[in-house]
Symmetry: C2
Subunit: 663 residues, 2 copies
Amino acid sequence: MERPHSLYFRYQGHGQLVAKPAAYVALTPGERLLNRIRATVFGRPLSTEEEIGERLSKKKALAIFSSDAISSSAYATEEILRVLVLAGASALLLSVEVAIAIALLLTVVSVSYRQVCRAYPGGGGAYVVARTNLAPIFGLIAAAALLIDYVMTVAVSTASAIAQIQSVVPAVYDIRIEIAFVSISLITIANLRGLRESGNIFAVPTYLFVGLALAIVAIGAIRIIGGTAAPMAAEPDAVSFGTEGLGVLLLLKAFAGGSVALTGVEAIANGVPAFKPPESRNAANTMTAMAVLLGILFIGLTVFAVQFGLRPTLAGGPSIVALAARTAFGDGSALFVTFAASTALILFLAANTSFNAFPRLAAILAEDGYMPRQFSFRGDRLAYSWGIVLLAGVAFLLLAAFGGDTHALIPLYSVGVFVTFTLSQVGMVRHWWNERSAGWRWRMAVNAGGAVLTAIVLLVVVSEKFVDGAYLVVILVPTLVAMMLFIKHQYTRSNRELAVAPDLVVRAPHREQRVVVPIPGLTRAVVQAINVGRTISDDIRAVYISDDPVSAADVRTTFERQVPGVTLVVVESPYRALSGPLLAYLELLDAAWPPDKREPITFVVIPEYVARSWWERILYNQASKRLRRVLLGRPHTVLVNVPYRREDPALFESALGAEHADQ
Amino acid sequence: MERPHSLYFRYQGHGQLVAKPAAYVALTPGERLLNRIRATVFGRPLSTEEEIGERLSKKKALAIFSSDAISSSAYATEEILRVLVLAGASALLLSVEVAIAIALLLTVVSVSYRQVCRAYPGGGGAYVVARTNLAPIFGLIAAAALLIDYVMTVAVSTASAIAQIQSVVPAVYDIRIEIAFVSISLITIANLRGLRESGNIFAVPTYLFVGLALAIVAIGAIRIIGGTAAPMAAEPDAVSFGTEGLGVLLLLKAFAGGSVALTGVEAIANGVPAFKPPESRNAANTMTAMAVLLGILFIGLTVFAVQFGLRPTLAGGPSIVALAARTAFGDGSALFVTFAASTALILFLAANTSFNAFPRLAAILAEDGYMPRQFSFRGDRLAYSWGIVLLAGVAFLLLAAFGGDTHALIPLYSVGVFVTFTLSQVGMVRHWWNERSAGWRWRMAVNAGGAVLTAIVLLVVVSEKFVDGAYLVVILVPTLVAMMLFIKHQYTRSNRELAVAPDLVVRAPHREQRVVVPIPGLTRAVVQAINVGRTISDDIRAVYISDDPVSAADVRTTFERQVPGVTLVVVESPYRALSGPLLAYLELLDAAWPPDKREPITFVVIPEYVARSWWERILYNQASKRLRRVLLGRPHTVLVNVPYRREDPALFESALGAEHADQ
């Protein structure tokens, strides 16, 4: 084809084109402006081929996918201490054992997810594992639990980051919802800019936190080894020791509390395709790196806390990690302040993990037909825009509804995490059993152990927290699963209905055409519509529907004089409605068709005035909108919209046959 | 045409049909259900011919159009007393003179509006008078002031009815917004049922109030004449006498306060066409009846209050009319209780006057092009549904925004009323001057006097209440006027652009057609769309746009095997968007057209899956919606929507040429 248009396309052969960037800007001026704004805020559009360039190096992936898991080291130790302190000072010493037990669980879970990364390079984590190895319904349960968890993570971590700031600047309380809005918006924009850029933006604070937290652990280790570690004086607002007996139940509770450290661990397994090739190996190694880092930080901080006799404080007092930082770096030192700031930042960024994992999971679900298709579309920057925006919206609404205090949601959150873990472990057990590749026995043993452990934690969490909010899981998960099944059912049904038998060959049709043009009077838009109708068929009728016999007579006179050769039917509508009488008239036409002839296609040609702004949409075309809705449901009927644009009355003027009477 | 279809139409000649009721029910099952519900709530549809049967007798019209004006007798006296009490006990005696002055003003205004009724039988009141006799802009100012006033009337009268109930049942305070919602909804439904029915519903309470109030006045008169009228003991919470000097300013203030009695007087002149014939005379006589009733009640109650020494009470105490009723009927008597209830009811019903006047005025404005056209459409029951719903919505939002306390709005309200009065009186002066029919001199004198009086009251009200809220008029009225001028400008421009020159004769077109079918793969909906396209032109191309080269190759293979004879163009879209590349492809087609031939019409045929519920609208057709929006703006391009309905894949199956391959 022509030269000038190689501007838009590259030719790959007959009937085979590839669009160039220029093909995407041939839109209206308004949209061009929008595109420019979008390019400034979100960056220039990326082609699908560029996807590989957007992939994450292990270093960036660690920052993006681990901020949730690693940030939990900022509070997991405290969760254990808060339980054990109920049984007195000596019970606190047991927290190291509890932490080690949780670290073991972490090892099992992360080894299991390493295997998931390798076995399911397409991503999807627990959903894909459970769907493939158990049954689709278990996949959906895992997916529902994960989706809920991701929303929670955003809400809960944003709320706790704000609480962190608030403990330093109490005035923040009054604008906490505004801060939440701004921080969620920033994360949303960063994620809409795409994976690599959000990696760039978020890597620094994550590594800063990790570095400083490791420094605390190291300083602690040196002082413990050097024998200079001594219990600090208790804080003035330290929680006083309780006198509860130190039984199995309390230990289990401490274990359940500390296992919050495991939240976010599954994110990498969901996002394997985001890694640079070799995707599976890189993801698995990143998984290990994350687990090792998290394990060191968690056990290290716990040992530090025990050795230096740190005790949790009453609400509003400094957190355990803040006390640890003060002990290690000195009160008010620059490092201490930097660490405090980076703790707040990484809590904000924990939300970012969800912003990567949620849209990916939604996209995988959409591809499987369990979510609306839009969730699998990638935006200009290759990000799953629908998922990102949905997550941001729901999380912000949740925060706003709970007035910025999302503590009530935390039980719900832990339940979701362990439902997913258990399902994925059980799925992996089945996987090894089916596969029986080299080393399947010990792999299966690891997963089976993990499944038992996580199931126990799940039971503990559920029984401890059922009335506190965990019961919501019993409502929310089935609701989400039912919605997904419903969507799947819809798509399955429509796909079946729309399927074309593979042996069907479509021949050219031989069907009569008939044109009906509903008109509101005689305007240029009407003339244009009638002329378009005439190019379709000579069997054409204009239908004027009115409740006013006088105007009807006027229209007839004008029409018959100015548009000779087209039949005008006037329908008087005493009840004023348009669509009813038009449908009835179409019925009449059908009945009048000779019964021996094949029923024709009726083209209803609707003149339309192109609205270019919201107020024009209110002022014009109300009737044609309604006609459209009613007629779209009619058999053998096709709708033709003939737009009339005022800048450009071309269809009317140039060639469609409107000529001055030759007088 | 055929017999069976005389079910739908009556034949009036060739190409001339009249729809029967049956023509209005041939809709979808969902709409049929909706219609049935609507018929139950709002009544069966009424034909335009039945309009005359819906007209109001004078008795019903008095109830509908006067509830606002007459209800003001429940508080106008009190407004005067509250001002005069500031100047001590003796000043209260002057309230009779003030009331008489206001009654004189009422006489002038009502005589003037009688003349408006006769001169402008089409209704529209101050708007039409000012537009016709002064200039369109003055008409719009009057209209804007009236529209604002009607909204206020609904909000303010509902709020004061609730306050009336609240003084008996304090617990009502907590659910005042809910009560407002219920009462406004009931009035809305009654009005959507149509004029006559709302007259039936609302006549009883109005006449009950009028009868009982007249009885109070009569009992008072008998006792005054019989000499048994003696000042009652002051209420415990009576306002104490002030010591201000009794100057002109205070009297003017009392006058301005009492002139609230005149609100709602113009409603009849707006609604002349709602009367039974002879419309003008009936309206004028109803006007007089209303003015006489209002005058008697107002002066009577004022005299009663003065003679029996009634004094206004502090906020929350009984109102003057309540005190009068107690004095006349005895405390706790059945008549007293009935009167108290009917006072609350008529305050609610004052809103009903607005529900008749606002939609009529909006319809007249819409016919003149100053409001969106929808406002001039009559619903099933011949009511102007859009205006009714808009009024209810705005008034309720206002009430909710002000937490049910709309006192702050009252100044705004009086200003609007007197702006309208002044403009209509001035307009009538001009009318008589132009007309100079018999008796024009004294008629003009009456209106001129009225104009001067109402202008003075306007000035007093504005200067007294400017800071209290009357300044809002200076913002709201110009804003509304600007909106109306903007709408007029839009309609004028589009009418000019769409106008067909009267000497233009439209000839049949001779234009080539070209068909482009964007397809998402090969489905039955696509096959159907392609076959419809084939009936339009043989120059047809299917365009498959995808970012995935693999699926593209699949589609090509399938398509070429199953739909022979139709060119398939595959456009690879690396940036994933659909609409940009499609538009670019259409450009390419245009450029490839032989330059010596007339440019063809491009029919873009869009396969569509008919959504029948809100969730289907989310699940399907997102892409086609966007394509529609983008393509509607393209020159020489026509959009064809081919709906695929799953219950009835008729276009596909029956005849469009889809046949099994003959193997």
